[in-house]
Point group: C2
Chain length 436, copies 2
């Protein structure tokens, strides 16, 4: 059964997360500050103190295309590891965009359409979020305009095509159609772009249009809340409660969506799982970043968010897990990490692809590069169980398939996969750019 | 619920299909002739007169990765067409390989493994069947060796990567590792290969090895029978019985798998749907071929099959629906077509892609090029209903996603999609090569 509600963990926390601040006044931002960018219903959800938010019937009607998603026991992986652990995974790759992103793209498009918005703008890196939003906009008759980082636009034409099949307009970013893009092109006509620049362009166009709004694919509270359909379904589907829950983190939406419903049960004293976030060695915001107010984008257009950050000037090395290349982290998850509600570890690119290939060969699904981080940690945990003899129940989320990422697998199989070391000086340098 | 049996339509037919013949003796081939290529259980299934064959638990355990597959009503497509028709589709694209092919790859690998086979060989064109078999072999610890048509091997490296991620060995065909391949390379070192050549190579290696067998992804009775999980599930899932059932046909496995269970109910007098096969204008074996004994491959290595064929020398134009580019047709479906059990029509490439884009924008799933043929006909049927005011129930199968086919969509969206005319002389010419 598809859950009929999303779960908002905020009112269940021992302390509320620090609010976003206006960069100029340093006062908490209010609904009026956000209204040019988001529809009122999403602004209300962002600050809601209701524990449960009903999922509208129109959203359920689209969720039905791929939900409920399967929760599977990885028996063949367990056997290949020789572990007494029992490994379960929730698979989100059967969605039309091939990942968990449509879980929030669909309600975002729905609420915008209901409030009379004509067009949504967004940025995308490798294209997973852009294609999810393009899909969702098509379902509700909204136009969709996407700024895609130039480097990906040129290297990954098929992800651009996917957005165009859904009817979206896709610009290479920096683009001449915005003043922020034009300014960068004037200085550097060959700019390959960045997520930060693409955000600036999408926000600029949304802010300028009465019936145009902006959509974000992770980081914010309402985005994480929409993703709780993953964890709510898993709670229903599991035959036994997990001892360990493992998820990958970039902006935090896949992880939050998986673990929040289990954390509710943990806070209620019903279960007591260990919960662990896994991030790339190349972009370790939890494990090597600081907890501070910082901008969500590179250009400094967004409100200040209290979060784990490597500094908004930090440019992660070009790992294949594009969805985990974000300098910051969900403020809500950052707050919960400070409260000690979960652990975090990091993993190298090559050990993640090794886990991805092992998973494909045993369980049959080729994972996207992002969830290979969770799989690498899951395998490590299962091997620890083998040593200790503990028959732990491990739950993880396989948040997308790797059918768009076979060039990366090709590199790995041919022995050409890079690992990146991240010297402390690079982090220290980026952190000097934190707003005072 | 996943069905616990496959349905074998042969014993329910008013007359049995003509048997395959040995090319030299013109006598029906027996199990001994097939034993070098297939395991005994599949040979038994090929000639079975049992109506139902139980699906082994080990196969069900793998089916569970993506089955049951969703059966969905295309309400947004209906609305965009303004039709009173009610359109349902069964979606097979959530499988690990992204199509319906694993439905038969998994049992084929299972039965081979159970009979002690060490390695399976096969051919693949664009890679859908090769990656499905590679996936299935990985599940049961079999080696997998694939001959991939050189043109695809070079143009579609990511499908090759997918097979390699699953641990398969992939050769560009013609390859120097077989005598049939070496012979062709000696004559034409730059040969881009063909499905016929690739079959010859895979069959040669299978026939030469005691513990090596060959696997075919369509055409044969047992393959179509494995695919009946599609139709059996749809029968359970449908809220109302269809008036029209529409599927695309290449070798026939997707179509047979969808319609056989409904034909059983029709033969029993319980329902009375119109059933329609859709093939490409560029490869019209039902609508423009002849019903005759012909070889299954180009080189003439296989038994003679009584089927609708364009002649085994026929080389279809390079349409993007690679899975429908086959000169022949399932002998079982060919026999049933002669019995008048279903209709057949053909569609052009550009109208198929137009249907694919319309479907993606309304229903949200980007279809593979093959099922766009069924969608084009479904849309045409729904528009006829709009004219007549009939509220027909239409069922179709969306047998795969198009995430590997975005280059083709890109061509369509940029206005560069080709349509091919097929002059009668080309068919007549190819038919002169039919075995006397």
């Amino acid at each position: 059964m598809i859950p009929n509600h999303w779960y908002n963990i905020v009112p269940d926390l021992p302390a509320p997360p620090p609010p976003p601040l206006h960069p100029a006044t340093r006062e908490p931002v209010g609904p009026d500050d956000l209204a040019p960018l988001f529809p009122m219903e999403l602004i209300a959800q962002e600050v809601s103190t209701e524990r449960f938010v009903a999922i509208p019937q129109e959203v359920l009607d689209v969720y039905r295309l791929w939900r409920p998603t399967p929760l599977l026991r990885a028996r063949r992986l367990e056997k290949s590891l020789g572990t007494p652990a029992r490994i379960y995974y929730k698979y989100e790759g059967g969605s039309p965009a091939g990942s968990h992103k449509p879980n929030t793209a669909v309600p975002q498009a729905y609420y915008n359409a209901r409030e009379g918005v004509r067009k949504l703008t967004t940025e995308t890196g490798a294209g997973q979020w852009g294609s999810s939003l393009a899909f969702a906009c098509a379902q509700f008759g909204l136009e969709c305009e996407v700024w895609m980082v130039r480097a990906s636009y040129d290297q990954k034409p098929y992800r651009r095509s996917l957005m165009q099949v859904y009817g979206a307009t896709v610009h290479a970013s920096p683009s001449p159609v915005t003043s922020s893009g034009a300014k960068i092109l004037a200085d550097d006509p060959g700019s390959t772009g960045s997520l930060g620049i693409a955000i600036s362009e999408a926000v600029e166009v949304a802010a300028a249009g009465d019936d145009v709004r902006y959509a974000l694919g992770s980081v914010l509270n309402h985005v994480l809340m929409h993703q709780t359909v993953i964890g709510e379904e898993a709670l229903q589907q599991l035959e036994e409660m997990p001892d360990v829950i493992i998820g990958c983190t970039g902006g935090g939406s896949n992880f939050g969506g998986l673990v929040f419903p289990f954390l509710r049960e943990k806070l209620a004293g019903k279960i007591n799982p260990t919960i662990r976030a896994v991030e790339p060695d190349a972009c370790p915001s939890f494990t090597r970043g600081v907890y501070a107010y910082d901008f969500g984008d590179t250009a400094g257009f967004t409100p200040l968010l209290k979060m784990h950050t490597l500094g908004h000037d930090f440019v992660p090395d070009p790992i294949h897990a594009g969805g985990l290349r974000y300098h910051g982290m969900s403020p809500l998850l950052s707050h919960m990490y400070e409260l000690g509600m979960f652990e975090a570890v990091s993993r190298s690119q090559s050990e993640c692809f090794e886990a991805g290939v092992r998973f494909a060969r045993t369980e049959g699904i080729v994972p996207a590069p992002e969830p290979t981080h969770a799989l690498a940690e899951t395998i490590a945990e299962a091997l620890r169980c083998k040593e200790t003899g503990e028959a732990k129940v491990i739950l993880t989320a396989l948040c997308g398939h790797g059918h768009f990422d076979l060039a990366a697998y090709d590199r790995y199989l041919s022995g050409a996969m890079e690992d990146f070391s991240l010297p402390q000086e690079r982090i220290d340098e980026a952190l000097t750019g934190l707003p005072g």
